[in-house]
Symmetry: C2
Subunit: 349 residues, 2 copies
């Protein structure tokens, strides 16, 4: 990474749109933010060529790695000037990906890219990332804030994050032990999380008419904007104490339930989901009505109220129930009969 | 990460600018590319929620992590339609950052973001990444290809990469053992590497007049375009066998020699560099003349021909010389006298 220290002002480079002085000032603030996430494991943090992190207490460590961005949720957050929540999203969605393996998130690195460095955007983004990193004990050890004149319009930016976690080789959760009769549990999402935002922007005509974001809706209990930028829920703290009881953990991201569950389900099994086991939040109905979208597409683009699906033995459920009070029994694992690996239907009768 | 499998065509989402079918097809190709970098350490690769990698043969492992992008070199590469070299850049510049700690690069993850998914861009980018990963034994275990309609113009994209490496805690190279009298060695760059491109684009008016990229220059021996997109040299293979002899390794990225060397030099020491120890490549003179840039700024923006600075004991140099045939003795470590930690001057007399 390169957040280098710089000397005096740079006329030619400055004229080309790259402000090294602004980078220097920002770099100091980033270092101070990042230090708030550092324990004794961190040998070197932000500002070094590479972040260095002691991997302790693992016998046969397997590293779990995820890189992802927030999609065009960033366009909505930018219209509202609400960047902290986007920083939280960036950490949480990657943490949830390493959680699917039963891993502990350890390191986080960010990439922020914009036309001209804007501390009014970068600082709240980083505050959100730091806040979310601290929640899960993840160290922000590096990143890059890139000035890319000519690539981004005013106020536009892009954002990517990487989480590295670790898990004992013998404790990897990977779905291979899933059997017929296992329980399918759902943990509620906090709303849209970070998927389907290009469709949402189009359906509500957000880009052309940002004022819609400030309209209050009785069924939401707040404005559309508040609903849309609700941070992606992080499931690590809820799930980590129960890793040993879980056979599969599915992060319901782009592709929804029908496309994410098969990523971890053995080929001869299918997930039988009872759609009346839970009620999707009102925002999903609003999107569907506004866009005239059919049920099938809704389920393939959005999480429909379930952010994480857990599969465990039916005997494990009673002991989990007390610790995961908002978990929903959404169905069970059945023998696969045809192409479909995810069967969604209302309860018969 | 989320490169989910998808089902049938998606009309509303497609109309909003996100082509899930195209993602699916591309995802398969990405998986095949990525598998070319996988050894038995890789438990799960691209397509899983998180990449899983067995960390073997370390007693007290310290993870070394770097995230960085290629800057606006991507604008030049895009004008030339030369994406492979950019993929190579992305891997190499991050590998070089973890090399500064004496680490072995293990994992790579990429982030590619564009308005509408363009396989003609994504595939050669990934080919370049895979090629560079294979060169250093690094596994491409994940990433994200994001479609961001409304954020990028046609053909525009952004790019970030993350390398995770590991080093034994006792073998970290960090500059703390550097002493007065130590030798400063330089390893030649392959040209601009990935720094200063916003200035270069402005100086040669590249955005407005891309034809300049196709002009041949006798002093370069080829076209300006060929010169500019030469891949960032990777130093891992040259340096790994000699890690134990090196006291500090400095990646000369943004900020040049004067701002990168102090990142690893103890505060009471300074680097005395003899500017006539090497000759910067002709491209640097061309940029300086075309932009009317003073020497000081040139050295703070560009690597000026030196991609990596090594510091070793003066007694270690003879044994290194044979294995690093292109290393240049560029100066030595001296006591610090004033503010300046990097003193650059011609040899007296």
């Amino acid at each position: 990474m390169s957040r280098p220290e710089t000397g005096a002002s740079h006329s030619a480079y400055g004229a080309a749109g790259v402000d090294l002085q602004a980078i220097e000032t920002l770099k100091e603030r980033i270092g101070a933010f990042a230090a708030m996430t550092h324990g004794s494991e961190v040998v070197k943090g932000v500002g070094a060529f590479a972040g260095l992190y002691r991997l302790r207490n693992y016998k046969n460590p397997v590293l779990a790695a995820s890189t992802d961005g927030v999609g065009t949720k960033l366009k909505v957050a930018a219209l509202l000037g609400h960047y902290e929540s986007l920083g939280i999203d960036l950490v949480n969605l990657n943490v949830n990906d390493v959680v699917t393996c039963g891993a502990e998130p350890l390191l986080f690195l960010d990439y922020i890219s914009m036309g001209k460095l804007d501390p009014q955007i970068v600082e709240p983004l980083l505050r959100g990332m730091v806040w979310a990193c601290r929640e899960v004990g993840c160290a922000l050890v590096g990143g890059e804030t890139a000035q890319m004149p000519g690539l981004y319009g005013d106020g536009d930016f892009d954002l990517a994050g990487t989480v590295i976690g670790a898990v004992e080789e013998g404790a990897i959760i990977d779905g291979t032990t899933v059997r017929e009769g296992d329980a399918l549990l759902g943990l509620p999402s906090s709303g849209l999380h970070t998927n389907g935002f290009s469709l949402v922007r189009k359906v509500f005509n957000v880009d052309e008419n940002p004022a819609v974001l400030y309209q209050s809706h009785q069924e939401l209990g707040h404005t559309l904007g508040e609903e849309l930028i609700t941070p992606h829920r992080c499931y690590y703290q809820s799930l980590a104490p129960h890793y040993s009881k879980l056979k599969a953990v599915v992060h319901v991201s782009g592709g929804g339930l029908p496309n994410n569950i098969p990523r971890l389900l053995p080929r001869d099994l299918a997930a039988h989901i009872r759609l009346d086991a839970w009620e999707p939040q009102p925002i999903f109905g609003m999107i569907q009505r506004a866009g005239g979208i059919d049920d099938r597409e809704m389920r393939q683009v959005f999480n429909m109220g379930i952010g994480m699906v857990l599969i465990c033995g039916s005997d494990a459920w009673p002991s989990l129930q007390g610790s995961l009070p908002d978990a929903i029994v959404m169905g069970e694992v059945v023998k696969r009969r045809d192409d479909a690996q995810v069967i969604m239907q209302p309860l018969p009768g």
